[in-house]
Each structure stands twice: as C-alpha cells, then as structure tokens.
C-alpha cells in the first residue's frame, strides 16, 4: 500500500505549525501518532499534500494532575495514559478505556489528541471525554479557544475545530464516584459495536449524579443527559436501569454496517450500558 506523495514537515514549535497551516490551507493536515491518518492515507481515502508531524513540538506531552482538574497534552499516548500511576488513581476510567483501544503497538503510537480531534465516531475517547465533561483546547492564528467536548462533535469527521487550528490539550474536572467503560467489539483492534462511559455518584445508597456517553452508535459520540437523569434520585434499581437504557436508546441513532443491523446495535447498546451502570454503581 503506497499513499499519494506528500511534502513532510517537522516544525519545532507551534508557531511553525500554524504558519504551515496558514500557507497550505486545506492541503495541510497535522499528525500526532498517525494511527488514524496513516491508514486512511494508505487506502487513499485521505489525500494530504502537506503533512505536518507534531512530534517535535513541545508542551503537549505531559499529564498534569491538579487539585481540581487534569490536563492531558494532545501528544500523550494511550500507553502513557495506561502507565500513569497518579492518573489511574484520580481518573481510573481513562485507563479502563485506553486498555480497550486497539492493541499494545497501536497504543504506543496513538494519542489522546488524535483520538479526540479526528472526529471518527468509532474512536473511544470522544464519548469518554463527553462523559467526563472535558474541555478541548485548540490553538489557531487568533490564539487559544476552549471548547466543551459535549458541543465539539457535529458529524462524522466534522468538529468545532477550524481547519487552521490544532488540538493541544484536553482538560477534565477531577471525576467523582464510580466509573466504568464497557465496550463490545468483534475482535482486538476493532471499533466498538457499542461502548458506554459512565461516572456515577452514590450518596447513601441514592444516585446523586450520573453522566453517560455512548460510542459508535451515531455519527458523533452521544452524551445522553436523559440516561443520567433517569438514574438520579433512584437506588439504581432495575426499573431505574430500564429507564436509563430507554432514554439512551432515544438519543442514539445507529446505522447498519458490518457490525450488524440497527436492531442488533440497539440491543448491544442496552446490554453494554446496563453493564456499565451496574459496574460503576458497585464501584461508587
């Protein structure tokens, strides 16, 4: 497989990246680990005449755990998420999700920034970040913008990031309570047939808050406010679970593909969400 020819750039700072994006406009793309973009270039689905490799740009490779939030640089890899001890204590759902992405080799290259910026509905981090109410930082010619994950995804591969902007970091408030990331996939390396991210707070046996997002069940990740609301104030009984699943099914819009027909996807989405809520509640 030979991708179309391109010019390659490895700028040493963000100023250099932005200058290249200004110069080449739509013909330029930035790349971090390349594990979404390179396969698309090899299949010639993506044509990138000017490829800008971010690997030498500083300031985007750190995980910083602050007292009230966590900042993850866009170039942090899935493997670094998995191996970061403090992060695994403060926001264990990140590790649980990262371990279900692709395989060890791919996780050593694939980055958080690439996963959230790409806009592929199959990527796991976008739904996870919506569950965690993350904010994405992008930088462009007019400076930085901070965009809520829950409003970032407009359609498959269409996001609130402008073409001349670069994703630099993801910031999440310190999560509370129990968590679970549950994913059904056909095999290692596959995208989800359905996946669910859940954070839930237990206050004396009653659910005080619940945040739920679904992956690969629409052309964007789906933050299901209704599913969370259905659990709040309940003891997360069977009837509350049923209500949460029903609310989630109202919000998703799966399409038939090689992972199955719509009815099957709705079924799996329900099974996976139920499992995620039960798991998260046990840990809450």
């Amino acid at each position: 497989m030979i991708p179309a020819a391109f010019d390659y750039y490895r700028p040493q700072d963000m100023k250099g990246v932005l200058a290249l994006l200004q110069e080449h406009g739509d013909d330029a793309r930035v790349m971090a680990g390349g594990h979404s973009l390179i396969p698309m270039m090899k299949m010639r689905i993506a044509d990138v005449p000017h490829l800008i490799d971010l690997q030498d740009v500083g300031g985007m490779s750190d995980i910083i755990v602050n007292p009230d939030n966590i900042r993850i640089g866009a170039l942090v890899t899935q493997a670094e998420i998995i191996n970061h001890g403090l992060l695994s204590k403060t926001a264990p759902i990140l590790r649980e999700a990262a371990l279900q992405i692709a395989d060890p080799q791919v996780r050593s290259m694939g980055t958080v920034g690439g996963n959230v910026a790409n806009g592929d509905p199959g990527n796991d981090m976008p739904g996870l970040m919506q569950c965690l109410d993350a904010t994405f930082t992008v930088v462009g010619p007019d400076g930085e913008r901070h965009l809520p994950a829950r409003q970032f995804y407009e359609a498959a591969y269409v996001t609130a990031r402008a073409d001349d902007e670069v994703m630099t970091a993801v910031t999440i408030p310190l999560p509370n309570g129990g968590y679970a990331y549950e994913k059904q996939k056909r095999k290692i390396g596959d995208y989800a047939t359905a996946a669910a991210a859940v954070q839930i707070v237990n206050d004396g046996g009653i659910c005080a808050s619940a945040s739920i997002a679904m992956t690969n069940l629409s052309d964007t990740p789906i933050f299901s406010e209704g599913a969370g609301t259905a659990l709040v104030g309940t003891s997360v009984s069977k009837s509350a679970l049923d209500a949460a699943v029903a609310a989630m099914l109202d919000d998703i819009d799966p399409t038939e593909d090689n992972r199955g027909p719509v009815a099957f996807k709705n079924h799996v989405a329900g099974v996976i969400l139920r499992r995620a809520i039960e798991n998260a509640w046990l840990r809450a």
Partner: protein, 164 residues
Amino acid sequence: MSKKMHIKLNVNGKDEEFLAEPRELLIYTLRERLNITGPHIGCETSHCGACTVTIDGKSVKSCTMFVAQADGAEVTTIEGLGGPDNLHPLQEAFKEHHGLQCGYCTPGMITRATKLLEETPNPTEEEIRFGMAGNICRCTGYQNIVKSIQAAAAEMNAAKEAAE
C-alpha cells in the same frame, strides 16, 4: 513524486543514511532498502503485528509509520536481538517450546515479546495474552507462544538473579 528527504536511522546499532520519499513506509525501508527482512509484511493494515519493530523503546507496527517520522530514531528488529550463534532467550524458548509452525509471525512476536518482558518481567498467562494481542498467529493457536514467553521470562529472571 514528492521531494526526497535525507534520512538518518540507527538500525540494530548500525547508522544508515539515505534519500527517500517521506511516504515510504518504514517496513519497506527495512526490507527493501536496507535488506533487513526479519520484520514481515502480513496484513499491512496495522492489525497482524508481523512488521513489529522497536523504535526508540516502543513496540511499533512498522507498516504504519512513514520513514520520515522515524528520521533520527533507533530501530531494533529481530536481527538485532540475536543470531544463530547467540540466540536471544526468547528465540531459544520459541525453538524449544514449538512456539511457531510456519514462522511468518515469529519475528514480530518475538520483537514484541522483548518489550512485554521489559515492562512485565514476570507475566501471568493473562498478561501475556493481553500484551501480545497486537500479534496474530494463524498456526499455533497461541498456546505454545504463551509457553515460550513464560519459559523465556523464567530463563531471563534466573539469569538476572544469578548476575546479582
């Protein structure tokens, strides 16, 4: 055709310099340009792991990296781990425990397993299966691959203890 780039790589301890189009995939650089044919092309779509090499300390599928990205990097392939006269403990263990049949996946398996044992020197069967999930074998059913890696781990840990 795009402009060729001046690329420097260190492969298995040897410095290499050449001109290449940036779009050249690293697996082709290794196999066709440098004649390092241990890493194989299986699926060429980042799934099978036959092309696995170690780049700057990371296990990477070399079919999913442009040579331009690897410019300046240190690359280790199966050839850099050991040869017929000085087999790496993993190579020895795969031979002893029948960890291969056709052998096509083996260079990628063993290269990946070196990193797995670096990160997890004493892995459980589950950890081996999870840590090797990016490498596909269509012959063995994996059982003897797991056994081989367990045997190599024991051998390497014993050698480390003896050295201490």
